[in-house]
């Protein structure tokens, strides 16, 4: 194993962090340099994620699935912190970098100038998200959650303005409370199991004294509540819509991955520690996931229908996506889970694109920044003050057609209609659900179908309004090349996912199957046979 | 040397010094509560901050010097810094109180009830 190959898993976390730190060392006004650095970082992470993905699928001795483990500080698990890249985490990192690259490209049109230090905050966000996906340690997960959230607070407020601040206040208050719950949960789990390592925790769940199991469950339940808040599960996710709606487009688009971090952790921990082999704790909390997922799905769909503008619809689409996956996780059927994972990829990209699109279509409503003094003299001035141009750089012709096409793809993806990848994911879930008839699966089938219809109704209403029925005094639709590249990249990924749907779905199903075998993960991390 | 091996005189001295210091400081706190006006109350804690503190610091230095078997005067640092910094606080507080009493802006950010018996102010 070559030098870099060994440390590959570190890069998705370290690279954005180092780049962001380096950006703090030079002048804020060197935009081009920053743009190049951030885009390069995203591209590099994508390559690394693909390499990790490849490794996770073929790295085992028998050429099969494995989890690559990186021991930070050279301390072995469960004592030190380990990073673990398996199919799921590598997939999530790859997804993050694709989304991140698209969003970043879009932001280069003008949004990265709407406030100071956008690139640094953005890279820190990526660092936090990737860390949350890769870490194999519960408390380190908390730390990465905080990195991600801290950056998200900055990005949510990026560009300032009353609406953002108002929504941001609630967002921060709720997430701070959730973080406290996270701490309570993790420490309680430590208190009864004596470990922070996820793999060892999974082992301890199996063998814990019956007397302690109640406390263990209390800890898991509180932790679960914290994660459900991040997933924006009903009734804990009302913060999502106002925050994402108010946030600047690139921030909101990047946030499409944040709720997925919550979803990821729920999947990871429930399948690792509370899977079939967990004895008396097997399938702990699963019914609640089902209920919360369905409620979220329903509420998100209604919210989508009720939305008055596209970015809000995008926010509810994020909720629908979370609800879908949670509900499916609540059914607890591995065959269905594969579809859900595939759906997760597509819906995340589509929700991200939706926010970007909403910004372009609703441009002119948002009134840039306010003239204010810099706090420090070395801090650059607000560029929106310098030039009143509000244009997104190079403007491309046929904007309406391009945006119409983009909107169409977004709608199809979010509503899960044929023929794009949103549909394939839904189809796979429905297909799996239809095979085993149970009240739960019927409820989820109905929920998925109705949410598709609701998504279609809501989005066509808004899209017709935004694209076809524009007021005469509404500004002409223009889209910058960078914006289109960002948006188009995300949507192209959705289309590619549909074309290579067979391979993608196969991957997702294998991943679900891998998640159903936690012993392999545990063995890779702890080096012992459970 | 462990605590059990401490000579009897040292035990007694350390114990009494600490007790006296604490008692003085406690007395200061009592004064803080029992005096009628702020300008009187502000004098009370100085008991603990000066002699009370000094006694306890002395107890500590003596104790650790004996325990460690070498001169351990590091608590002096605490004494010195406390002596230097406590007046700063008190001066500022007294100044603030005087100013607040002088001006009519009795109700402000740190809203509170007016002093029952404000003495004649200079």
């Amino acid at each position: 194993m070559s030098l870099w190959d060994h440390h590959l898993i570190l890069l998705p976390i370290l690279l954005p962090m180092v780049m962001a730190s380096a950006m703090l060392l030079f002048d804020e006004r060197r935009r081009r340099l920053k743009s190049v650095i951030s885009l390069t970082a995203m591209a590099a992470i994508l390559l690394v994620a693909l390499a990790l993905l490849h490794e996770s699928m073929t790295g085992a001795v028998d050429g099969g699935d494995t989890a690559r483990v990186y021991r930070l500080g050279d301390w072995s698990a469960p004592f030190g912190i380990v990073l673990v890249a398996d199919r799921l985490s590598a997939m999530m990192v790859a997804l993050t970098s694709v989304l991140g690259a698209g969003v970043l490209a879009f932001a280069l049109a003008r949004w990265d100038r709407a406030g100071p230090r956008f690139h640094a905050l953005f890279l820190f966000l990526i660092m936090g998200v990737n860390g949350a996906f890769l870490t194999g340690d519960l408390f380190n997960l908390f730390v990465f959650f905080e990195i991600m959230l801290a950056a998200s607070y900055g990005l949510a407020l990026h560009g300032s303005g009353e609406a953002r601040i108002r929504a941001g206040l609630t967002y921060i208050a709720i997430n701070l409370t959730a973080s406290l719950l996270f701490l309570i949960g993790v420490s309680l789990l430590y208190g009864v199991t004596g470990t922070l390592n996820m793999a060892e925790f999974a082992l301890k769940v199996r063998t814990i004294a019956p007397d302690d199991r109640g406390l263990l469950h209390v800890g898991a339940a509180i932790l679960g509540t914290a994660f459900l808040i991040k997933c924006a599960a009903w009734p804990l996710g009302f913060w999502l819509a106002p925050t994402y709606t108010a946030a600047s487009a690139p921030s909101a688009a990047a946030f499409a991955i944040l709720s997925k971090v919550g979803v990821y952790v729920v999947l990871r921990l429930s399948l690792l520690a509370f899977g079939d082999g967990a004895g008396a704790s097997a399938h702990f909390g699963q019914p609640w996931l089902l209920v919360a997922g369905l409620a979220t799905l329903a509420f998100g769909t209604l919210g989508l229908i009720a939305s008055r503008d596209l970015s809000r619809a995008g926010a509810y689409a994020v909720m629908v996506s979370s609800g879908t996956i949670l509900a499916v996780a609540g059914v607890g059927d591995k065959a269905v889970l594969g579809g859900a994972l595939f759906y997760l990829i597509g819906s995340t990209l589509a929700c991200g694109a939706m926010f970007l699109l909403a910004e372009v279509l609703q441009r002119g409503v948002d009134s840039g920044g306010q003239r204010e003094r810099a706090v420090f003299d070395d801090e650059y001035r607000d560029p929106f003050d310098d030039d009143e141009r509000n244009e997104p750089g190079l403007v491309i012709p046929a904007a309406v057609a391009a945006l119409g096409g983009a909107f169409l793809i977004c709608t199809l993806m979010i509503a899960g209609l044929p023929p794009l990848s949103g549909f394939i994911g839904k189809l796979a879930m429905l297909d799996g659900l239809a095979r085993s008839v149970s009240p739960a699966s019927i409820a989820v089938i109905v929920g998925l179908s109705l949410s598709s219809l609701g998504g279609l109704i809501g989005l066509t209403r808004l899209g017709v309004g935004a694209l076809w029925a524009r007021d005469d005094d509404a500004p002409e639709l223009v889209v910058g090349a960078a914006e289109l590249a960002g948006m188009g990249g995300l949507l192209a990924a959705c289309v590619l996912l549909a074309i290579f749907g067979g391979a993608g779905l196969g991957f997702a199903e294998h991943t679900a199957e891998w998640l159903g075998r936690p012993d392999a993960y545990i063995r890779a991390v702890l080096g012992t046979t459970p | 040397m462990s605590v059990a091996d401490l000579p009897a005189w040292a035990c007694v001295v350390v114990g009494l010094l600490a007790l006296a210091g604490a008692a003085l400081s406690f007395l200061g706190a009592v004064g803080l509560c029992s005096f009628k006006t702020f300008y009187e109350r502000v004098h009370a804690p100085t008991l603990g901050a000066t002699l009370g503190m000094a006694l306890i610091v002395a107890a500590s230095i003596l104790f650790f010097t004996l325990i460690e078997g070498r001169f351990m005067p590091r608590e002096l640092l605490i004494g010195v810094f406390l002596t230097v910094t406590t007046p700063v606080t008190l001066i500022l507080l007294g100044r603030a109180a005087l100013f607040r009493d002088r001006t009519e802006f009795a109700r402000d950010e740190a809203a509170d009830e007016p002093e029952p018996s404000t003495p004649s102010l200079p």
Partner: protein, 975 residues
């Protein structure tokens, strides 16, 4: 050419053409038309070329794998039924393209139109060529989608937007039902492959789920084919350009539903549900459509309702479940496509040339456009079922089938009557179409003189009308083989019944009914014609209330309103309820788990010593302070800050008491900084007074709210206390800590285990934690740069203003003297404390690895040193003297920490691997050198940077305000 390639061409050519057309420039009308025409021809020729390749009953298949794990592949499957539908789609498509070239205005972006049209054509091909249930549903939804785009082509018109949305919503709803139905069928049959499914008929019918599946599939078919009660979208879709109507509503879109029914007919055609739903919907649609058509004034409206009626007829035929009915249905599908397409095109020509489609304005057009008029008359006659035309033949078969099946159900018995009635209506509206438009006095309400259209615009109509005649006269030769092949595909060889495609079957019941209908229709026109033509309302008599479109709009508005209502009821954007929910959810989750799992407490209450009592007294005080802080936080913020400080100190003492000196140090330092931060912020908060009286109702409400919150808070407290007590009284579990304690010195090089954990064992946590601090610093800066204080907190604080005025005033004092005197003494002390605090920080930093302290504590201590200078001397003074570059420090701090971790990689060890060594230095002796110290140095730098940044950015707000005020004053003075 191989049949596989040809199959692929049939499907792919339209989509490719669509992509190319989309890329054509806006004005390339002719190019786009030629392209589209060529594309349809290529596909049509390919289709024709395949005709000889499947002899009776043979099926051509081409499978392209797509989603193997779901058993969903792209299967192109060509049988007789597909062929006839595909031919219809491509043939009429080619004619519509030709027609559209002349119909569309050069002002419109015509290439886009052709692009959509070709894409739609491809989607239809996909439906009819599907050899896989899921694939069928996919293309089905695509047809809905492209029809949406086509109907909404003139989206500047509100009616086009509404029509498009309605069509999409209804048909996509059906499509989703279809999808779920197909998934169910596939699940029952064990495969989505159409051939497998058709072969699994008995399995499917035996499964109870099949009823649900059938209902869902029918939902798809009926919505698509505009069957009652989903028929309303079709008339609204007439807002589309006429070529679209001619295409979608004669031969393609609406026929997809028919195609689906035909596909499912072999499986479900004989079931009860099928009969009641399909036949019931068919007969209702037949009658309602015909009845409504009678009253239309808009030519396209009339044709739209006529289409609905004819689709009802076909659906009714399929619903009857008899093989002959199915054959008749296919036959009528073909016939209807030809005459209806030509009629739509004719209506379009009239619209194009006369400028209106309103029959009340049109009159006597025959004189102006005799050829078009003749063509329209022939086509309308076919629609009315006049002999010698194709419409007559299939209607005869229809009537025959209705009569033949008129025993059994009451519905069956009534069918002949209803069918005749509907046919009479058909005659009536066909007559109206012709007579009101082409005959009578010359038109007066037109704003131009109508004339014949360009010849090539008429050509498609001529071809279609010729087909009507040809089929009408020579059915067996023209359409016989294709019909037979399609019938075989549906019914199979063995079950193919005898039928005759002849013009004359002798005098029989169907003929009688036909004659009755013709006569009745003419008679009705004679009586009611005038009244109908002038009917002011335009709506059908008796069915005004049953306006599906209106109800649909109502329903959609209702859904949106309902969703908003639910959103506001089941959701909230207010912070308090959300936080309450979060707290309650956590409580509920924890409680549920505790009750389910059981949490036992094993108290260990040994007799408490004096020390325990002191500890208890300490917390009695601390707890009291916390409660008092909570109590005071609303009206006495400063008091709350003070009391919180006290509670915090008690926590710190607890940490010392319970062997956690590092925690005590850190919390103490953080406490100081937090207090100052809060005080810096307090200045910008509004004054809050107890004496402001709220309304009585509000008081009651808030009291209730407080009571509830008090209960919640108490429960939270109890719960957390209970859990922590339960854990604390349990024996320690053997965990990872033992390892840390054992190895801290030997492998981490430090005696302070906590610090070794922080900078070595779990340095990655610290690495993340400092990143958080850095990020927050950046965010704070960003926020404060745009900070705008509320207007009432703009002026300098009262104290400060008064201070400048009042005080022991002596002559010759300047502004600021008072402050300088006040701060004289504190300033001296605070300034000289600076180096001492630095020494403290250095010690905290250096000893951290062995004793309480560490990078974070050192960093905060340094920040406090800077802070003291700020408080003593003011921001301006400090910044003139000290070089503060907090952002740079943050950057360097992070870089150093990361770089220190990266050094290990150079030695091929994992990130953050630390090394330590005892070095023997001259004079100093053995000195420990750990690489973790460098890491900790990064921590210090970052902490100082971030903390100073936060403090200073906040402090600068007052300065900035003063500066702005001064500038504003200056500006005013200058003006």
């Amino acid at each position: 050419m191989s049949s596989n390639l040809l199959l692929l061409v049939i499907l792919a050519a339209p989509f490719l053409g669509a992509a190319v057309a989309a890329g054509l420039p806006r004005h390339a009308r002719t190019a786009a038309a030629i392209l589209s025409w060529l594309v349809s021809l290529v596909s049509l020729v390919s289709l024709a070329a395949l005709w000889p390749r499947f002899a009776d009953g043979e099926v051509l298949r081409l499978a392209i794998p797509w989603l193997p794990s779901l058993g969903v592949s792209l299967i192109l499957r060509l049988d007789g039924l597909s062929w006839i539908f595909a031919a219809l789609i491509l043939g009429i498509g080619a004619l519509v393209v030709l027609y559209a070239r002349y119909y569309m205005s050069p002002k419109d972006p015509v290439p886009r139109f052709f692009s959509f049209l070709l894409a739609f054509m491809g989607a239809m091909q996909g439906v009819v060529l599907s050899g896989n249930l899921i694939q069928l549903a996919v293309f089905w939804e695509l047809t809905s989608l492209f029809s949406f785009l086509l109907i909404g082509y003139w989206h500047q018109n509100a009616s086009a937007r509404e029509g498009a949305r309605m069509a999409l919503t209804v048909t996509a709803l059906g499509g989703l039902c279809l999808l779920v139905g197909m998934i169910l069928i596939g699940g029952i049959a064990g495969s989505y492959d159409l051939d497998d499914v058709l072969a699994a008929k008995s399995v499917i019918l035996a499964d109870p789920r099949s009823v649900v599946a059938l209902a869902l599939v029918l939902m798809g078919a009926l919505t698509k084919s505009a069957q009652f009660p989903f028929h309303f979208w079709l008339p609204r879709a007439m807002a589309a350009p006429t070529p679209v109507s001619a295409y979608l509503h004669s031969a393609t879109m609406v026929k997809a539903g028919i195609f689906l029914l035909l596909r499912m007919w072999p499986i479900f055609g004989q079931t009860e549900l099928w009969y009641f739903v399909v036949a019931g919907a068919g007969v209702a649609t037949l009658l309602i459509g015909a009845w409504c058509a009678i009253f239309q004034h808009d030519l396209k409206g009339l044709l739209a309702y006529s289409t609905i009626s004819h689709l009802g007829l076909i659906v009714l035929l399929l619903g009857l479940g008899s093989p002959l009915g199915a054959i008749a249905a296919i036959f009528h599908t073909v016939n209807h496509a030809t005459f209806k397409a030509s009629l739509f095109m004719a209506a379009g020509i009239i619209d194009h040339e006369a400028g209106t489609r309103d029959m009340r304005k049109l009159s006597g057009l025959y004189k102006f456009m005799p050829i078009t008029g003749t063509l329209a008359i022939v086509a309308a006659a076919a629609m009315a079922g006049v002999p010698l035309l194709n419409g007559f033949l299939s209607k005869e078969m229809f009537l025959a089938e209705v009569v033949a099946g008129s025993d059994g159900h009451a519905l069956n018995a009534a069918l002949p009557v209803l069918a005749t009635l509907a046919s009479a209506f058909g005659v009536l509206y066909s007559l109206r179409f012709i007579l009101a438009t082409f005959f009578g006095p010359p038109p007066t309400a037109l704003d131009r003189v109508p004339h014949e259209p360009p010849a090539w615009m008429r050509r498609p109509v001529e071809i279609l009308v010729a087909l009507c005649l040809l089929v009408g006269v020579l059915p067996a030769i023209t359409v016989g083989p294709f019909l037979r092949s399609a019938a075989v595909a549906v019914l199979g060889f063995d079950d193919l019944p005898y039928y005759s495609l002849a013009l004359w079957h002798g005098f029989n019941m169907p003929l009688l009914l036909s004659v009755l209908a013709l006569g009745g229709g003419v008679l009705a026109y004679a009586i009611f014609g005038q009244k109908l033509n002038t009917n002011p309302r335009g709506g059908p008599w008796g069915l005004k209330r049953l306006n599906g479109g209106y109800l649909f709009e109502k329903a959609m508005t209702g859904i949106v309103k309902g969703a908003r209502w639910v959103e506001s009821r089941l959701g909230t954007e207010r912070m308090q309820p959300q936080l309450r929910l979060v707290v309650l959810a956590a409580l509920a989750a924890g409680a549920a788990a505790a009750f389910a799992g059981g949490v036992a407490i094993r108290p260990s209450w040994s007799s408490p010593g004096a020390s325990e009592f002191i500890f208890a007294a300490l917390w009695l005080t601390g707890g009291g302070c916390a409660v008092a802080a909570a109590w005071q936080a609303k009206y006495h913020r400063l008091a709350a800050v003070v009391l919180m400080g006290a509670a915090g100190l008690v926590s710190c003492i607890t940490f010392v008491w319970m062997s956690a000196p590092d925690l005590a140090l850190t919390q103490l330092l953080v406490e100081v900084v937090t207090t100052v931060l809060l005080l810096l912020g307090l200045r910008w908060l509004p004054k809050r007074r107890e004496d402001i009286q709220a309304s009585r109702a509000e008081l009651v409400r808030s009291r209730r709210r407080r009571r509830v919150d008090l209960v919640i808070a108490a429960v939270v407290g109890l719960a957390l206390a209970f859990v922590s007590y339960a854990v604390m009284t349990r024996p320690m579990v053997e965990g990872i800590s033992r390892f840390f304690v054992e190895r801290a010195y030997s492998e981490g090089g430090g005696r302070n285990v906590v610090n070794v954990i922080l900078v070595d064992f779990r340095a990655f946590d610290t690495f993340g934690e400092i990143t958080v601090l850095g990020i927050v610093g950046l965010t704070v800066l960003a926020l404060l740069r745009r900070f705008r204080p509320a207007s009432d907190s703009l002026p300098a604080p009262n104290q400060k203003q008064a201070r400048e005025r009042a005080g022991p005033v002596a002559e010759g004092r300047k502004a600021g003297d008072a402050l300088r005197d006040t701060m004289l003494i504190p300033r001296v002390v605070m300034r000289w404390m600076f180096p001492f605090v630095i020494v403290l920080a250095v010690h905290l930093f250096l000893r951290g690895h062995d004793l309480p302290g560490g990078g974070f504590a050192a960093g905060v201590a340094l920040s406090i040193a800077v802070l003291l200078q700020y408080m003593a001397n003011g921001a301006r003074w400090v910044e003139e003297r000290l070089l503060l570059r907090p952002i740079l420090w943050i950057g360097w701090g992070l870089t150093i920490a990361a770089g220190c971790g990266l050094v290990a990689i150079g030695f091929n060890r994992p990130f953050l691997t630390s090394a330590f060594q005892y070095v023997n230095l001259p004079l100093l002796g053995q000195v420990p050198l750990a690489s973790a110290v460098v890491f900790d140095l990064g921590v210090v730098l970052l902490v100082v940077g971030a903390t100073v940044l936060m403090l200073v950015a906040l402090a600068h707000q007052s300065l900035r305000r003063a500066r702005d005020d001064a500038e504003a004053e200056q500006a005013e003075g200058g003006a």
